[in-house]
């Protein structure tokens, strides 16, 4: 418990690059939200309660005078289905922690701090407080980005011109590299990539993320049982 604060600070530091991308991405959302007539309070309520970038983009896109509450909820459910998998993948990190700890920590899990934590865990030094510190920092960056966009208004009318839309892709590409575990990943990644591309082509929305992730995981399950697989991936440092 004594390590709570330093771990949070370490998590926040490790999230500086992804937070920069989230802020850029957030400012784009803020501009769109301003066009749809959201107030800064609506925006902050959404940032705080939902805290999931892609879902927020879709919600703002669906925004109107009479909110399509049911469709919106369903859309958010589909887009965020990947969080079921993300949550499941955090199980080794949370091993031995109580229910309250889990409940308190999980809200601020986003793609960014999750990915940073997973790559940190590969070197064996991630903790739940590291994850949480990253989440808090990301929340601040995300919120300020959205507010800058919302209040500053149309200063970036064409974000594509500055490749701002590619910031998200680039930062997650860099993070994916950190999750590469070597030869054993070749097959799962090829299967995942193929599934993602196929589903992306034929199904709308964000199904491709879930489909690719599941396909990759299943292919790893079906793979030949190499005895090399004894490496303890869940080597969570004890404290």
């Amino acid at each position: 418990m004594k390590r709570r604060k330093p771990e949070m600070i370490r998590g926040a530091r490790a999230n500086v690059p992804v937070a920069a991308s989230a802020m850029a991405y957030g400012s784009v959302l803020g501009v769109l939200a301003a066009q749809k007539g959201l107030s800064w309070l609506d925006m902050m309520y959404m940032n705080t309660a939902v805290f999931a970038g892609a879902a927020q983009f879709v919600m703002v896109d669906m925004w109107s005078n009479h909110l399509p509450v049911f469709e919106m909820t369903l859309a958010v459910l589909v887009i965020n289905l990947r969080y079921l998998l993300i949550g499941a993948s955090l199980d080794p990190l949370f091993s031995g922690r109580g229910a309250l700890h889990k409940m308190g920590m999980m809200h601020l899990v986003a793609d960014e701090n999750w990915a940073v934590t997973m790559s940190e865990q590969r070197t064996g030094s991630a903790t739940t407080w590291f994850l949480f510190g990253g989440g808090v920092f990301l929340y601040l960056a995300w919120s300020s980005g959205t507010l800058i966009g919302l209040l500053g208004g149309g200063f970036i009318t064409r974000p594509e011109e500055y490749a701002l839309d590619f910031a998200f892709t680039a930062v997650f590409t860099a993070l994916a590299v950190g999750l590469w575990r070597g030869k054993g990943d070749v097959v799962p990644w090829i299967v995942a990539g193929a599934a993602a591309l196929l589903v992306h082509k034929f199904l709308p929305g964000k199904w491709y993320i879930v489909a690719g992730g599941l396909a990759g995981a299943v292919s790893a399950m079906l793979g030949t049982c190499e005895p090399v697989e004894v490496e303890e991936a869940e080597d969570v440092p004890s404290y």
């Binding site: 500086v16 690059p17 992804v18 920069a20 991308s21 609506d42 959404m46 309660a49 939902v50 909110l67 509450v69 919106m72 958010v76 459910l77 965020n80 289905l81 969080y83 079921l84 998998l85 993300i86 499941a88 993948s89 955090l90 199980d91 949370f94 889990k102 999980m106 011109e161 490749a163 701002l164 590619f166 998200f168 892709t169 680039a170 930062v171 997650f172 590409t173 860099a174 993070l175 994916a176 590299v177 999750l179 990943d185 799962p188 990644w189 299967v191 995942a192 990539g193 993602a196 993320i209 690719g212 992730g213 396909a215 990759g216 995981a217 790893a220 399950m221 793979g223 049982c225 991936a233």
Partner: protein, 102 residues
């Protein structure tokens, strides 16, 4: 001036939040009931990488050859320098330049 939140916004965002949080926590709580070794565990260990790769690949491919170049450069920079921010900026720079020219 302090804006008010309309009831319909309160409900819509509240539901979205409830769904999202349930998925986050639900995944974690379900996983603690999963087997900790064997085939299933192997799949779960492969999941993060597969998921992240699936997240980015379609948007890389959508940018065409230059998207692949930008992603490759991003990967090389992060492997060499371990600096995610620099890697991100290099990738963006490629796309920025291509769009400026094109």
């Amino acid at each position: 001036m302090f804006p008010a939140i309309e009831p319909q916004v309160l409900i819509a965002v509240g539901l979205a939040a409830g769904v999202t949080y349930s998925l986050r926590l639900g995944g974690l709580l379900l996983a603690s009931r999963f087997p900790r070794s064997g085939r299933f565990r192997r799949g779960m260990d492969a999941l993060p990488g597969a998921l992240l790769f699936s997240l980015v690949l379609p948007s890389i491919v959508a940018e065409g050859v230059w998207g692949l170049m930008a992603a490759a450069l991003t990967a090389i920079v992060v492997l060499r320098t371990r600096n995610t921010l620099a890697a991100m900026l290099c990738g963006m720079l490629v796309i920025f330049a291509v769009r400026k020219m094109g």
